[in-house]
Every structure is written in structure tokens, then in C-alpha cells.
Amino acid sequence: MFSNLRRLGTAGLALVGTVYAGSAMAEVKMAFVEALSGGAASAGLLSQKTVQFFVDRINAAGGLNGEKILLSSYDNKTSAQETLIALKKAIDDGNRYVFQGNGSAFAYAILDAVNKNNERNPGKEVVFLNFAAVDPPLTNEKCSFWHFRFDADVDMKMAALTEAVKGDKNVKKIYLLNQDYSFGRSVAAAAEKMLKEKRPDIQIVGNEFVPLQKVQDFSPYVAKIKASGANGVITGNWGNDMLLLIKAGKDAGYNGVWYTYYAGGLGAPPAIGEAGIGKVKQVSEWHKDVTPELDPAIAAFEKRFPGQENEYGYWRIKTMMEMFAEAAKKAKSNDPIKVAGALEGLTMSTALGPVEMRADNHQLLQPLFVSTMSNKVKHPLQGTKIGFITDRKVDAKATAVPTTCKMQRPS
């Protein structure tokens, strides 16, 4: 129907375009592959807007080495297979950089495909910029020269979180509750290991795994937590699994501390409500009250994209885009291999402190904050009266964890 005509039209224009290629302005083509429809789309859409916002900023400031960035979005429909198809489309369309983050499963698929593509098609290499997939193997056993991660991984976040636990003398018994898949299991393993190192006196009274996004009623789990006498729960749960868990805890009158990864996520503060004040903590690279005044970029973003579902959440995307621009400038080229070479080892100073992209495993080191829910905040979240205030900050260098990566570099 009209879609075919449009395709034909675009193809025709492309044909005309290639004729004038010599005189036309070259572009750096970057692809954004995320879930843009279906149940998991809210994170994908928000991160898409965030990336687009910073791409526009870079272009407004002159682009990358004089070339403008063209960002194209591809919907992965929350499916690893569709991700691969989308990636194929993206590569065929000439994109040399791929952004993705929400969903480690898809990150693995993309990494695998990118590695194979770069090996089989020299000259058409693609670099994968990962802003949210935090499974540790991506910068350990499965590390790759073509992959850069801009979000602190599970182990790094757990290191910061356990620092907070270490400092809290009241906590004597900890309960671990996580989702039963690789991410949840790595959270639990990291928690067990690090608690043993930092506070051997703390007893881990439970290590529970719940099937992913299947549990509706967490009250039996809360009953178990209470029965164990735990005064703190460490959980990597996200989405419904976190909201329902904390809600059940609130209903049952559990008054221990919740150490979480994603309590600041979309929809979480309104669902948790006042009951979370002083009790719910999170580890993140940013929250709205981390600096007294809102960063001007964030203020500009929220002006352009008003509405609760567009509340800024991905500080690390700002860091990612700024570092990427820096690397391109340093490499004096937009070729992926050269930019990747410039990006590894790059240091940069940001509004929250210095950051560094590790050369050995392509993991970004950035400051991490452990924060607690509070109603005494300057910037309340998502239409509520609550936000987070910082408990402690861990500097970028201090967040580093050992790596097993043996990276193979292109010759």
C-alpha cells in the first residue's frame, strides 16, 4: 500500500542521492536498537529520546569532525531474533555504530552478531555502544574490542551497595531476593561474595530466586523475609517484580531496609510511595538531587519532552555521547576502528566527577551514588513528593572491579 510507495520513493531519492554523493554532506550513521513497542517499550522510548537529544546537541555544535550524525531507530520488539533482524537492517542501511542497553539478552545477541559481522566483513565494522546492559560477562568472558559499556555492571554496583551495607552497623542479617535469570543470579553471587569480604559478621539468611515477571503476590516471600529476621534485603529486581515486592513489604509492615538497583526506575517512586522513605535505597550513577541545581542539559531535555513518562533517567547517556564526541575529536576521524581506539583509555571530566573508559575491558568507570528515598528533596520524581538523597558517593576509580577479560584487538 502506501508503505510500498513510500519505500519506492525513498529508494528513488536514495538513487538520486548517490549520484550527487560527491557533493553531498557525509554523515555518521548511528543506529538505535531497542524495544519501541509492546510491554517493555517505556524504557526503550525514553532512552531513544535521550540519545536523540544528545545527538541533536552534538550536531548543533558542529557535528563529529564536521559530519552530522544521523540517528535511525530500529524496533527490536523485545525479541532476540528481531534484534538480529533489526541489526541486519541497520548494517545494511550503512550504520556503523549501534546503541542498545535495555535487556542483556539482546546485548549478547548484538555483541555476537557484531563480532561475526566485523570478522566476516572487513571494512564494514560496527561498534556497539551499550548504555544499560549490566551482565558482567559482557566485560569479562565475553569482552570484545567492538563493545563499550557505559553503565556500571552488576559487580561494580554491588561493590558500591555493599559499601553502604558495610557502613550500617544496625544491619546484622541480610536476605537476598532476585529474579531467576542470569542478571538476578549474578546479583546474588556478587552480593554473597562481597558481603563475606566486607562484613563477615553479617549473616545471609536467605537467597531466593523468583521466576521473572511471573509472581503477582509477594506476600509469601515477605513472610519468609520476616520469619528469617532479616533487617535488610538486597534485590536486583526491576519492573513489576520490584514494585510488587516493596508493596507487599509495606502491606505486611516490614520495616527493614531495601537495597535495590532500580528503585528509581520509571513508575517505581509513585508505586512505592511514602512507605519507602528512609527505607528504600538504590545505587545509580545519578539521581535528580545529586546536585543542588539541575544540570542545564537535563533541564533542557525536560523542557523539550514534558510529561511524567519522559522524566530524565539516563545520565550515563549524556556521559556516553560526550565521551564519544571527545573520542572522535581525538581520533580526528569518524571511522569506527579509529574512534574505538581513541575511546579506550579515554578520560573525561563530567559534572559529577572524572570518568574513565577502561582500556582493558571497555567498561566505563564513573562515580556511583547510593541514595535513600526521602521527602525532603528539591526535585521530587514522577509527580510524587518523594525523591532520593545521596548517602554516599563512590568515586570512579574506586568503583573498578577486577576483570577476566582477554581482549583481542584488531591488528
Binding site: 509469601p220 520476616k226 520469619a227 502491606d251 509492615g253
Partner: protein, 317 residues
């Protein structure tokens, strides 16, 4: 020990009654009409959203009255203007497919109107207090309210079907439609009525389930399958069966969560140690607690193999 037992029992009963509330409407439609109404969960979700929307302007209690009515009307419309035109109703396959497509439509409609993110459906203030505290765990009042509504649903449905005239006509029309039509009753209207009633019950369940669970467009897909399990395990044609099945599943699931043992522990108790290198090690290490949310499906498969009629079923599917 007794603490764990009592609190699990209480939680299990509450959860079971909530499940019954969800499935009572489907019991009516599926049990009686034989229509595998996959869109039932969608109507439930609509009930939750409608309650939230009306509640913003008129308060929760008004919304609680209106949402079931609206959902009933929606159900009637589905039957009258949709299902009736589905061809080849004998084999039920097109009907199932129709309601399946309808579920997707309802979900997209919800996204169009209310967006993708979960909406902050909060517990109404009148119910948001701990009713009593047992062994240090408090039980909020809204759960008691839920239980009351659920039991009320059961009682009123039971009475309506078995004791009133219209209930008898419904029961008769579902097994012998031609005879009932010959006796002068308007059978198509009976069908519409049943569908409307079932959907109204789903709407009522949604009004309450909305603040218990998370009101998001994915709600229909997460609670949908369990509802079918209950209706099948309970047995077709039986309301009491659905109640028993809900309670069974609720209690089993809740008790399963406290059982932290796996097959490996069982083997160890019998003196057999399973080494990590053996091929099924992972399978044996799965704790019962981990499997709790899939217990309904296990029960479904077992029931269908052993006794396809269900617990108290009066007729085969």
C-alpha cells in the same frame, strides 16, 4: 513453625479468593457457554483502568459501582456485535482466535488511551490501614475487603444460578439451546446476558485488583493464563469447583514458597548424593520455592491427564 504455617495459610486464602474473583466471570462464560474467552483478562484490565479513571473524578466507591456496569456493557457488545458473527462456531477454534485478537486490541486500546507506563492506582484511603497484626505481620484492610467481595460474588452467583428462574433458564439454555428456544425463551439474549454478567464480574475484579496488582497494559497477559487454569482445574460447569480450585492453587503456591528444599535434598535424605557434574544436576537443584509460580500449570497438565473433567466438572469440554 506455627507462625509460618498460619501466615502462609492466611496469605494463601487471600490469594486464592483473589484468583476466584478473577475467574468467576470466566467460569460463567467458559463453563457455561464453552467459549474460551481469551479477552476476559482484557476486560479485567479495562475494569482496573476504568476504575482509576472514574475514581480520579468521582472517588473510588462510585467507580467501584460504575466499572462493572461498563464492563458488562462491553461484554454484551463483544457477544452481540462480535462473537455472533464469527463463523463456524461449532468447532470453537474461530471463537478462540477472535477473542485472542480482541485481547491484543484491548491492550493496544489501553496503550492508546492511558499510555504504556503503569498508572498509580493507589489503595483507597478508607481501606489503607492494617486491619490486624498477627505474629508481627500486619494484614491490610483492603485484603479483607477483597475477601469479602470475593465471597459475596460466589454466594450471589450461586444463588442466582441455582435458585432464581433466570438462572435455571441460563443453565438449560447452555446445554439444550434448541429445547429452551422451543419453550419460548430468547436464547441469543441469554447468551448476551451471560457474557455481560461474566464481563461485569471481570470488571469488578479489575476494580479491586487494580490497586492490589500493578495497573499496566501488561496486566492482561500476566494474569490471563492463570484464570484458565482455575476454570479447567475446577471443572467445567461448576462454580464451586472454581472456588475450590482457586483456593487450592492459592494455598499450594503460597506454601510452596516456604519450601526451600529441592530434589537434591530429597536424594541426600535418602543417602544419595548428586554431584555437580551429573547432567541433570541443575534440574535436581531447583528448589520447590523457585517453582511456585508455575505450580498452576503443573496442576493443569496433571489434572487434564488424570481427570479431564476437573475437580467438580459436570461436563466435558
Amino acid at each position: 513453625m506455627i507462625e509460618v504455617f498460619v501466615s502462609s495459610l492466611l496469605n494463601g486464602v487471600v490469594y486464592g479468593l483473589l484468583l476466584f474473583m478473577l475467574s468467576s466471570g470466566l467460569t460463567l462464560i467458559f463453563s457455561m457457554m464453552g467459549v474460551l474467552n481469551i479477552a476476559h483478562a482484557g476486560v479485567f484490565m479495562l475494569g482496573a483502568y476504568i476504575t482509576y479513571q472514574i475514581g480520579k473524578y468521582a472517588g473510588f466507591w462510585v467507580a467501584l459501582m460504575l466499572a462493572p456496569v461498563l464492563c458488562g456493557l462491553i461484554g454484551a457488545a463483544i457477544e452481540r456485535y462480535g462473537l455472533r458473527f464469527v463463523p463456524n462456531r461449532k468447532s470453537h477454534v474461530p471463537e478462540i482466535l477472535f477473542t485472542f485478537g480482541l485481547l491484543y486490541l484491548i491492550e493496544e486500546l489501553v496503550v492508546m488511551i492511558w499510555g504504556r507506563n503503569p498508572i498509580p492506582a493507589t489503595v483507597p484511603e478508607a481501606l489503607d490501614f492494617p486491619l490486624f497484626t498477627l505474629f508481627g505481620t500486619s494484614y491490610p484492610a483492603y485484603k479483607a475487603f477483597m475477601m469479602a467481595v470475593s465471597i459475596g460474588m460466589f454466594v450471589s452467583l450461586y444463588v442466582a444460578l441455582k435458585r432464581t428462574r433466570i438462572g435455571l433458564v441460563i443453565q438449560a439454555a447452555l446445554t439444550h439451546p434448541q429445547m429452551v428456544a422451543a419453550l419460548g425463551h430468547n436464547v441469543p439474549s441469554v447468551y448476551v446476558l451471560v457474557f455481560a454478567l461474566g464481563s461485569a464480574l471481570a470488571g469488578l475484579a479489575g476494580a479491586i485488583g487494580g490497586f492490589t496488582w500493578l495497573t499496566a497494559p501488561t496486566l492482561a497477559f500476566t494474569v490471563g493464563p492463570i484464570v484458565f487454569v482455575i476454570v479447567i482445574v475446577g471443572g467445567l460447569g461448576s462454580l464451586a469447583g472454581a472456588l475450590i480450585a482457586s483456593m487450592l492453587i492459592g494455598i499450594l503456591q503460597t506454601f510452596a514458597v516456604v519450601v526451600d528444599y529441592s530434589l537434591r535434598d530429597l536424594f541426600a535424605a535418602l543417602g544419595v548424593t548428586v554431584s555437580p557434574s551429573s547432567p541433570l544436576y541443575e534440574l535436581y537443584s531447583i528448589k520447590v520455592a523457585q517453582t511456585a509460580p508455575v505450580i498452576p500449570y503443573l496442576l493443569l497438565v496433571l489434572m487434564l491427564i488424570v481427570r479431564p473433567r476437573g475437580l467438580l466438572g459436570t461436563r466435558d469440554a
